[in-house]
């Protein structure tokens, strides 16, 4: 992997990491308000909104931290990609039902309202970033493996 490719990989990884660390951290600050945003989607029964609000931000935060530390990158990408797909399905359902709600993607206690349409576009961008990071990471590990094999072969040849 060239230096530019390496930089691009780290840029993608760090962008995703910061987005998810921030998204998780602000929701952890106010779980009840986030439960309200989950309830506004009108998908889950009453108590399940609290269960999702109590657990989801911690998964987001943990996945973001792993990306930030460059540890277990691909499992973290799978978790982030899976969550983003679920968010997208929920947003599509909101759009189909014509609900005018704030997506609750980030700060649940305040800030500007983000409509489901805008949030969906943002999630498409995040999914693209997940795919790019996965691809770049795969290239990085494949190159490393090839280098190791060549190194071993060179040693044997001596």
């Amino acid at each position: 992997m060239s230096r530019a490719e390496g930089l691009f990989y780290h840029l993608c990884r760090l962008t995703l990491a910061l987005v998810f660390v921030y998204a998780g951290a602000v929701k952890i600050q106010d779980v009840v308000a986030f439960a309200g945003h989950v309830a506004a989607y009108q998908i889950l029964p009453y108590a399940m909104n609290y269960l999702v609000a109590a657990t989801l931000p911690y998964v987001e935060f943990l996945a973001g931290v792993l990306l930030l530390l460059n540890v277990r990158v691909r499992p973290a990408l799978v978790a982030i990609g899976g969550m983003t797909l679920v968010f997208m399905a929920a947003l599509v359902s909101v759009l189909l039902r014509g609900l005018d709600i704030d997506c609750g993607c980030f700060d649940p206690a305040g800030g500007e309202d983000v409509s489901a349409g805008v949030a969906l576009l943002r999630d498409v961008g995040l999914m693209a970033l997940v795919a790019l990071t996965w691809f770049m990471r795969s290239r990085l590990t494949t190159r490393s493996a090839k280098c190791e094999t060549r190194g071993e072969e060179a040693l044997k040849a001596r």
């Binding site: 309200g36 309830a39 108590a47 269960l51 657990t55």
Partner: protein
Amino acid sequence: MTDNLKRIFLEACVLMAFGALFGLTMNHQLVLDAFAGRLVPQRPVGDMQEEPQEKVPLAYPMPILLDEVQQLMTEGGLLIDARSPELFEAGHIEGAISLPLVDIETVLPDFSRRVDRDRTVVTYCSGFGCPDSFDLGMRLIETGYSDVRVFEGGYPEWRDAGLAVAGEGQ
């Protein structure tokens, strides 16, 4: 390759399980309250024998969802707005009456004269995170109302669902 993918998915599952478990540990009381505590109607001690099944007095207001509010409205339930008079004037659920928690001492005597104690009442305020509807519900139970519900989604959820609202801002 397949083994590698399996391992990655397994690790992702462990990651999510660990995060969820940590979240549950940090918020177990909130989740327990949602699933059991405040959802379970509790009978006051001493009233255990004579009470008929349908009219069990609640120790806590029962949280209900949007569709249940709509159903109760058609069955004669009374919607009560716990927010300040200014917010009520600016916009409220159509058909609701104002009983601001901030002026409860002034407005409650008149309210209790006009509304029967056995009527189903539903309190609401400014959505999740707003405690006024729950506090007002508790106050109504103390006053003797036997069937008190709380709509935690409140005015924002009702309005965002495109349902009928009234007030100056509409």
